[in-house]
Symmetry: C2
Subunit: 171 residues, 2 copies
């Protein structure tokens, strides 16, 4: 599988990773959620090379995650703003933050706290089932092919593992 093919895979993980699945892109997006909007801002916050930053920003604009908005004429300058599609990445960011808070903190504790304006409290993000509201656990979820399923890496995987399981069960 090559990287250009990723976005065509019949797998939402693969497609998403094709767009945001590299380290600099994720860090750039972190900065976006921390309200950074300008080239120099990203560059100095991250220490990313200008070359790569320019490239990544272009890709994020091309994929509709950021919008390039002029903020002054002469010289023309632009800011990079999250679109709705970009804002929708928030749960991914928060899930990443929360895992880091849980498993990667040192003795000093978590570096950043999050306050929910609505309820005024410091919170953790919790992922729940849209239907019953219960917190989701990997073991309580099964997958099945959806309408867009077709022989893909993911589907082949499921079939192979099902087969292996039934062999193991029969033996």
């Amino acid at each position: 599988m090559k990287w250009d093919e990723l976005e065509e895979e019949a797998c939402s993980v693969a497609r998403t990773i094709g767009v945001i699945g590299d380290r600099w892109t994720l860090l750039i997006l972190r900065e976006c959620f921390l309200r950074t909007r300008r080239f120099e801002g990203f560059q100095s916050a991250l220490g990313i090379t200008r070359h790569l930053l320019a490239e990544r920003l272009k890709k994020l604009v091309r994929t509709g995650i950021l919008r390039r908005v002029p903020y002054q004429e002469s010289p023309k300058r632009h800011e990079y703003i999250l679109t709705q599609k970009g804002l929708d990445l928030y749960p991914i960011m928060m899930a990443i933050v929360h895992w880091g808070d849980t498993h990667m903190v040192d003795e000093r504790g978590r570096p950043l706290l999050h306050e929910h304006k609505k309820c005024g409290k410091i919170f953790n993000p919790v992922m729940v089932c849209s239907e019953c509201g219960e917190p989701l656990m990997a073991k309580e979820v099964t997958t099945r092919p959806g309408p867009g399923a077709r022989p893909s890496a993911a589907k082949r995987t499921i079939e192979r593992n099902a087969k292996a399981a039934s062999r193991a069960g029969a033996a």
Copy 2:
């Protein structure tokens, strides 16, 4: 910022990305959640080079996300199983899947559906506030330094942006 430094940043996003933030690692983890456990399974499902696969699996074991468990003697063979730390990545995976389902599907629809065993329904994952249970939106959250805060990329970012905002407000 170099990659080895990422895990020392005072930012849970950076630390997490230091461990799981590359494309192959994320795809390997997808496979783990689809019940793949063996070297050949990962390799044939992903088309990753054996070289890189070996390296990534080693890193995932080293960071405590996978456990290398023997499943037969002579020749000694091992399976790679998610630890609890690894299972805790589930919300990240589901958030990624859900974003892909929302923004990257083609006309065929989503490739994979998820059923919650507890309630028996096909669901979407929703990220909510641990305190009030309301769905989280980026605009309804503010950040503040936690006990582990120190001058880091993320903190510098917040300060710089706050300053920029107050300048803009004053002008």
